[in-house]
């Protein structure tokens, strides 16, 4: 069971960790969903036609990062409203992948590739023999381990490198950046581009796991990742825990469907709903916490 949960949580975790950088830089990044979709399509298209997973991954990361960069540049340089631009990215991802799918593969439905390479599964030698935790380290794709590794790495970048400090300063106090001679805009563009990179990885992991491309393959995962950032208290390890929780909930829903025979169309609504409920509970608790803190002062 833990094994399946880990598989489900990986895209949340990847997109959430990238989104963390933009969130810390003071940009609410609602384009995660679109960037992930762009990544998923590019990964499937390139890996499916070339038969090379690495090439597919590189394409996903590259194209998704390029899209993120363009989005950031448009929003910050052309001073377009950043939410509206992000909305445009999401909509363009839906329409654009559909057009590309038609032009390249002459279908707007599921694209199956004859020679789609299968994703090799790897077990970590020592860790996979620990009784309770072995589900984390046994027979997963490389994407899972990359996502795991990115948790401490992004914590380290955020808290112990100059770049991390700049990112946090961009979100908290941009005058501090200005006095250090660092361009706030540049930091924000970089942060958004980072989210593009991890969303590309997240998208690639989705397509590779399926071995095909399905329209709307992301089905709200970018939004869930965005909420996971908040619920994880904007910290890498927090995001890890929340992603784990959301994945467990989704698995529970899937098995409930198997048992109770709930229709699959209703299943599409479930992740959004559970995320909404999670968000409400979190903000209620957070408000309560703040009030108590106020009282004790």
């Amino acid at each position: 069971m833990l094994h399946s949960i880990v598989e489900i949580m990986t895209p949340f975790l990847l997109a959430g960790l990238g989104g963390l950088f933009t969130e810390r830089a003071g940009v609410l990044n609602i384009a995660l969903e679109g960037l992930m979709l762009i990544g998923a399509f590019s990964a499937a298209a390139v890996a499916g036609t070339s038969g090379n997973l690495l090439l597919g991954t590189v394409a996903a990361v590259g194209i998704s990062a390029a899209a993120a960069y363009l989005y950031a540049a448009a929003a910050l340089r052309l001073k377009a409203n950043i939410f509206i631009t992000a909305l445009a990215v999401n909509l363009l991802a839906i329409g654009g992948t559909q057009i590309a799918s038609h032009l390249l593969f002459e279908t707007k439905g599921v694209i199956e590739f004859v020679n789609f390479p299968s994703l090799p599964s790897i077990s970590i030698p020592l860790l996979s023999s620990i009784p309770v935790l072995k589900g984390f380290f046994i027979e997963h794709s490389l994407f899972v381990y990359i996502a795991f590794l990115l948790v401490p790495i992004s914590a380290w970048i955020l808290h112990s490198t100059p770049f991390g400090m700049y990112v946090k300063a961009a979100g908290l106090n941009s005058t501090a950046l200005f006095t250090r001679g660092v361009s706030e805009q540049k930091i924000k563009v970089l942060a958004i581009t980072i989210s593009g990179i991890t969303c590309g990885l997240a998208g690639a992991s989705l397509s590779f796991n399926l071995g095909a491309y399905v329209p709307n393959i992301t089905s709200g995962r970018g939004w869930i990742a965005l909420v996971a950032i908040f619920l994880g208290y904007k910290r890498p390890y927090g995001i890890f825990l929340v992603a784990l929780l959301f994945a467990a909930a989704e698995l529970a829903a899937q098995s409930a469907q198997g048992i109770a025979g709930a229709p699959s169309s209703l299943l599409l609504a479930f992740p959004f709903f559970i995320t909404f409920v999670g968000m409400v509970i979190f903000s209620a608790l957070h408000a309560l916490f703040l009030r108590l803190q106020e009282k004790n002062r």
Binding site: I30, N81, I84, L87, G95, S265, A284
Partner: protein, 351 residues
């Protein structure tokens, strides 16, 4: 957020619209085997005959209401991203209500149904506003999540438990004939809802600019801290703009059922939520500009759909069009000298 510097603003909107048309003119023929025919279908869109014109105007009416929904939310400084679900829920609640009271007298049923539609939308969006007020839950995210779960749930209801078995469409049963709005240009779909939309423009303008609540809403949207300092009860203006916005979105869905579709069909109102945002931005979030904004946007969308008929395949060009318009309308092309003059602190929404 209300813009009082018209000249260069209109110019930049004009540039954006022209750019959007240009993008369409370049891309549409590329997707087709007969570029000339596709292009003429795009440009001629609604003007080919009265049937097309009627359907075009009908859609303009619904989009005005969706646009007004976002104008009010934006004026109040709130981001309602849940339009899709609010419209859909408004449509479904109208249908369900009228299906449970098939014997009611026409006008009474219509008025009650409209109230149900508005109430449904207002409830859904108002919840996001309330959560923001109570616990500071981001309304942008919460309204989107709630709306998405509603869209999929309604999809399920319409294609499953509520499906009309006699229809080959994924659709609920149809409402009784006495509830259907008078048609103005049969056989096109144009009906009384266009007039309702025009009336709403006036009402929206009156509310925003000539009532004290509208004033407070706008002041809160401009600067919440300043409004609080001025003695405005800013807390309630988390809820009011959201509820009004959701109510209008719900109304758009309800009127769609009453005048156009007479039933809730799967995905039939899809896109209206996003279009509301695009249209409100083209209108520079001002109610009186909603009519031209809706006409322009609908013309583009209608034309694109027509062009698709002549292309060798069909797909939803809507999302691409929405994206192009959203982006172009808020981008400030600082490279263009004309637009960089003093009046260009425009962009409706700065954050």
């Amino acid at each position: 957020m209300h813009d009082t510097r018209p000249a260069s603003t209109f110019l930049s909107i004009g540039v954006a619209i022209a750019a959007a048309i240009l993008v369409m003119i370049v891309t549409l023929p590329l997707l087709s085997n007969s570029p000339a025919r596709t292009l003429s279908a795009f440009l001629m869109g609604p003007f080919r005959n009265w049937f097309y014109m009627g359907n075009f105007l009908n859609r303009v009416g619904l989009y005005i209401i969706a646009g007004l929904a976002m104008v009010i939310a934006f004026q109040g400084g709130m981001f309602n991203l849940g339009g899709e679900g609010q419209v859909y829920a408004g449509a479904l609640s109208t249908t369900l209500f009228l299906l449970t009271v098939p014997k009611l007298i026409g006008p009474v049923g219509v008025i009650a149904a409209v109230c149900v539609a508005v109430g449904t939308g207002a409830l859904i969006a108002g919840l996001s506003g309330l959560l923001k007020m109570k616990w500071n839950t981001d309304e942008l995210i919460s309204s989107f999540l709630l709306s998405s779960s509603l869209v999929y749930s309604i999809d399920y209801l319409v294609s499953g438990p509520l499906r009309n078995a006699d229809s080959f469409l994924l659709s609920s049963s149809e409402i009784a004939s006495q509830f259907r709005l008078p048609q103005l240009l049969p056989p096109s779909h144009l009906n009384l809802s266009l007039l309702a939309a025009l009336l709403l423009i006036g009402l929206g303008y009156k509310y925003l600019f000539h009532t004290s609540s509208g004033y407070e809403l706008r002041m809160t949207g401009l600067n919440r801290e300043f409004a609080r300092y001025g003695g405005i009860p800013v807390q309630r203006y988390y809820f009011i703009p959201m509820a009004l916005s959701g109510g209008l979105y719900g109304l758009a869905g309800g009127l769609y059922v009453l005048g156009t579709s007479f039933a809730t069909m799967q995905g039939s109102t899809s896109g209206m939520g996003w279009n509301g945002i695009a249209i409100a931005l083209i209108a520079r979030i001002h109610p009186l500009l909603l009519l031209p904004a809706a006409v322009i946007f609908t013309y583009l969308e209608f034309g694109a759909e027509n062009a698709m008929v002549y292309a060798d395949f069909s797909f939803e060009f809507g999302a691409v069009l929405q994206a192009i318009v959203l982006f172009l309308v808020t981008a400030r092309f600082s490279g263009f000298k004309v637009l960089r003059k003093k009046g260009d602190r425009n962009a409706a929404l700065d954050s």
